[in-house]
């Protein structure tokens, strides 16, 4: 039963994939460079993300995948190159424009980054109160419950983050991003540290969100299962450049031995 | 939400108490240095403020009533000290109150003492300048006194010699006594001397009886000047007497017919009388000085305060000794003169 469901999803993906090429570009990165202490992490990155597509960036740990998506929300500024989100250069945005951008681009951190000192409710309220002009507590409450329903964790509303399991934290992290209804969602290693079952749940959640909110996503991962479920398109980042690009199946059956080495574990 | 409110109330309480403590501190310190009470400004002019600083306390009857607010040099010898005094003690300070610089405690913080004035004088007003008590230069006066007494001693010696010679009827004086103008002169000088001694005695008498505060008396510059002047005159006149009597002794003068002239003898009698008076006064003077010095020695009375160095005390003692000695000599001399047959003879006649 599960496999049938999966197949159905993949089918849908393929259909949407063909349509996506006509969609407008939401993220465009050209010749992006970034180095830390003379260590060139990103050498020359070129990529585009279209509306409604899930892009998985595969790569080993510590090669600057996180740096790349942090550049997109302006947490890190590139040394050179152009990085346009919704057609606007991120590095040239003023703080107000940056704030607007950040409401449209959701970021899900590797460690979830839930605020320890706040309950789940307050965690979800936090971005809401600061970015939307909603002040009516009933509307806020409704939105929170609604979003928690989407991630299936309404019960946890009054819990503290320390009381939650890893998977639950991840879901709350996702919910906190979703509450602003972002147009682009950036996932930083969403399945790291989770058991295989929970990983699959989270991967499916990502897919579900994509369908429900019609959001574009960049998913940084080294988890092949996750990539397989979520990706419309994949890229492999290696030594500061995008080495190769294609769908999961294309890459898996690549002629290049080096590319295929990434899929060996499966 | 309720939790936040509870927290806020507690926080408010905490901050309010904290600020209250600070305000209490400010207020308490303020009440100690009286920063909040209304103040008036008075001043005093001193020649020496011995290290008084802005912020030092001003005391009235031993109570802190104000602080020194300004110290300003006004010319090469005078310093003006401004003091802010609490308005509520103004009613006790009179316009003739005096200021003095003293020191408080062992550590010797300088303070300004304000002394009570006379009850019938007006209350001080803003900007008044009070009289100040300076350390009077008494040693100067004493120096004069000393010279005078030495002179007096010489006079009496001379007079004694004269009368002795007269007694023995030594010739050279025949001419001398005939000169009336001389005897008148002598008489006048004697009179003056007597008057001066009188003044001097009066002053010292006042001091010894402690009429008023001695500090005040000595601080009174008018009085001090008077004393100084008197001393000067006394010195001058005694000097004159010395010269004259010496002249007589040396047998100078051109007068031979004295014994026939009665005016002379009556004049001489007057001289004797005056000399007598002078002697008496000199005695009182020396007595007074002895009393004062005793007091000083025993550390009694207010005058003890005036003594700030031993040199001063020494000079007083020497002066007193001299005066004492001279007074004795004057007395002896006067007795000799009185006993003189010549004068006895003529004085009867005069009577």
């Amino acid at each position: 039963m599960f496999s049938r469901f999966k197949m159905l999803e993949q089918k849908e993906n393929i259909i949407s994939n063909s349509m996506i090429n006509n969609h407008k570009i939401v993220i465009q990165i050209e010749h992006l460079k970034k180095s830390f202490n003379g260590n060139n992490v990103l050498k020359d990155i070129n990529l585009t993300v279209r509306e409604g597509e899930n892009l998985v960036i595969l790569g080993k740990s510590g090669i600057g995948k996180s740096v790349l998506i942090k550049c997109i929300v302006g947490l890190i500024y590139p040394d050179a190159g152009s990085l346009k989100v919704f057609g606007k250069e991120v590095a040239e945005m003023n703080p107000r424009e940056l704030n607007v951008l950040r409401t449209r681009v959701g970021f899900i951190f590797q460690g979830n980054a839930l605020y320890d000192s706040m309950t789940v409710r307050e965690n979800l309220e936090f971005p809401l109160r600061r970015n939307k002009t909603i002040t009516d507590p009933y509307v806020i409450e409704e939105l929170i419950v609604d979003t928690l329903e989407n991630v299936g964790l309404v019960d946890a509303i009054d819990k503290m983050p320390s009381e939650l399991s890893g998977g639950m934290k991840k879901r709350i992290g996702v919910a906190r991003t979703l509450i602003l209804k972002p147009e682009i969602i950036l996932y930083d290693e969403p399945t790291t540290g989770l058991d295989p079952l929970t990983s699959r749940e989270i991967s499916n959640l990502i897919l579900k969100i994509q369908n429900k909110y019609n959001a574009s996503s960049i998913i940084i991962s080294h988890d092949l299962n996750c990539s397989k479920i979520t990706s419309d398109r994949m890229m492999i980042l290696h030594e500061g450049i995008i080495r190769t690009e294609g769908t999961f199946d294309e890459l898996k059956s690549s002629d290049d031995e080096w590319v295929r080495s990434y899929f060996k574990i499966d | 939400m309720r939790d936040t409110k509870k927290h806020n109330i507690r926080l408010g309480f905490f901050v309010a108490i904290g600020v209250l403590l600070f305000i209490l501190g400010i207020y308490y310190i303020g009440s100690q240095i009286n920063i909040f009470s209304k103040k008036i400004q008075i001043s005093g002019i001193f020649t020496d403020i011995s290290g008084l600083k802005v912020g030092n306390n001003a005391r009235f009857s031993g109570i802190n009533v104000g602080t020194v607010s300004k110290v300003q040099i006004i010319n090469d010898s005078l310093v003006r000290v401004d003091i802010s005094i609490q308005e509520n003690v103004r009613q006790f300070i009179r316009k003739d109150s005096k200021m003095e610089i003293g020191s408080e405690g062992l550590m010797g913080n300088k303070i300004v003492n304000i002394y009570t004035g006379s009850i019938n004088v007006d209350i001080i007003e803003e900007g008044d300048i009070l009289e100040t008590i300076e350390v009077v230069q008494i040693d100067k006066i004493l120096r004069q006194l000393n010279t005078s007494s030495i002179n007096t001693a010489i006079i009496t010696k001379n007079v004694a010699e004269i009368t002795d010679k007269i007694n023995r009827g030594e010739g050279a004086f025949g001419k001398l006594f005939a000169d009336t103008s001389f005897s008148n002169n002598l008489s006048r000088i004697g009179k003056n001397t007597a008057k001066l001694t009188n003044n001097f005695a009066d002053i010292t008498d006042k001091i010894s009886k402690e009429e008023g505060t001695i500090g005040m008396l000595l601080s009174d510059t008018v009085l001090a000047n008077q004393l100084f002047l008197t001393g000067g005159n006394l010195q001058k006149s005694t000097q004159n007497l010395v010269e004259i009597t010496e002249q007589i002794n040396r047998g100078q003068g051109l007068f031979g017919e004295i014994f026939t002239d009665t005016t002379f003898t009556s004049g001489l009698s007057r001289v004797g009388k005056n000399l007598d008076y002078t002697t008496e006064k000199a005695k009182i003077l020396s007595d007074n000085l002895v009393k004062i010095t005793n007091e000083i020695n025993e550390g009694q009375g207010l005058i003890a305060r005036l003594i700030y160095d031993t040199a001063f005390a020494d000079s007083i003692e020497i002066a007193v000794q001299n005066v004492n000695k001279s007074a004795k000599e004057v007395e002896e001399a006067a007795n000799v003169v009185k006993r003189n047959w010549l004068i006895r003879l003529f004085s009867k006649k005069e009577k």
Partner: protein, 280 residues
């Protein structure tokens, strides 16, 4: 690109192992200067954010509560013991000079001028400084600070400004408490060897105090508070290297703020003299 470079500087910590703090670091002049430069820039950012709306009232109140009120019991106990011990220690010397009646005055001056502010600030540097250092450090390490930034909240404003304001204004208030409680401790100590009524004690204590004792001492406590806040926030905000970095951030927050408290005190002594001259 010019703009970019500016932004890079503004948003990123100076690149060095600035969490470590030991004396050998001072031999490395470059890293020492880097530290100072980073802290100065951080302070500059603090002031820029301080006056720029929006203001985080709620968080400020929360921080004020946790910094001010929760430190009070600790301060209270220390202050009481401080007043007690100071009086007991000074008593024999004063008694030797027969100046026991000066004891309240002497103790009050030492408490108000020096011991109250400095001891309170040091305790706060320990308690509050390590708290802030560890809290912000762990927030940095677990990307909570980044999360805050991407959810449209300026972490500088939300985390740093609120905490620095809270320390700047709470430490003086804690010092007032500390002074008052120390006086009480001193009163108890004086009464261990004799009897003196509380009003007389207070009169004697305040007799020796002047505004030039209280005011400069109070002004310097604001600087103490500011130093504790800004240094601890800086250390926490730029902590690195995971959990280890958090520990180091907390540690160096305490060490550096304590050191800076003494440096400020040193400067304050000189400036107090100036105040003394002008205050009369």
């Amino acid at each position: 690109m010019n703009l970019n470079i500016k932004k890079i500087f503004r948003n990123e910590a100076p690149k060095s192992n600035h969490n470590e703090f030991d004396l050998s670091r001072f031999k490395n002049v470059e890293s020492f200067l880097n530290e100072i430069g980073g802290l100065s820039r951080f302070t500059g950012n603090f002031f820029r954010e301080l006056f720029r709306p929006p203001y985080e009232h709620k968080e400020l109140l929360k921080q004020t509560y946790s910094i001010g009120l929760s430190t009070l019991p600790l301060i209270g106990i220390t202050a009481f013991i401080m007043g007690l011990v100071l009086t007991l220690q000074s008593r024999p010397v004063m008694a030797e000079f027969g100046a026991e009646s000066w004891l309240p005055g002497m103790v009050s001056v030492s408490i108000v001028r020096e011991i109250g502010p400095v001891i309170t600030a040091l305790i706060c540097a320990g308690k509050i400084g390590s708290g802030i250092g560890a809290e912000l450090g762990s927030m940095r390490v677990t990307e909570q600070i980044d999360a805050m930034e991407v959810s449209g909240t300026n972490p500088m404003k939300y985390l740093v400004v609120t905490r620095v304001i809270a320390t700047t204004f709470m430490i003086p208030i804690l010092v007032f408490y500390s002074d008052a409680i120390s006086f009480f401790g001193s009163y108890i100590a004086v009464n261990m060897h004799g009897f003196i009524s509380f009003p007389l004690f207070i009169n004697q204590a305040f007799d020796s105090l002047h505004y030039y004792d209280l005011i400069p001492a109070t002004i310097k406590t604001f600087f103490f508070g500011f130093a504790i806040g800004i240094i601890s926030c800086y250390k926490g905000y730029f902590s690195e290297n995971g959990t280890e970095g958090v520990g180091k951030a907390a540690n160096s927050a305490v060490v550096i703020s304590s050191l800076v408290i003494f440096i400020i005190d040193l400067i304050a002594v000189q400036l107090s003299e100036v105040f003394h001259v002008f205050s009369i």
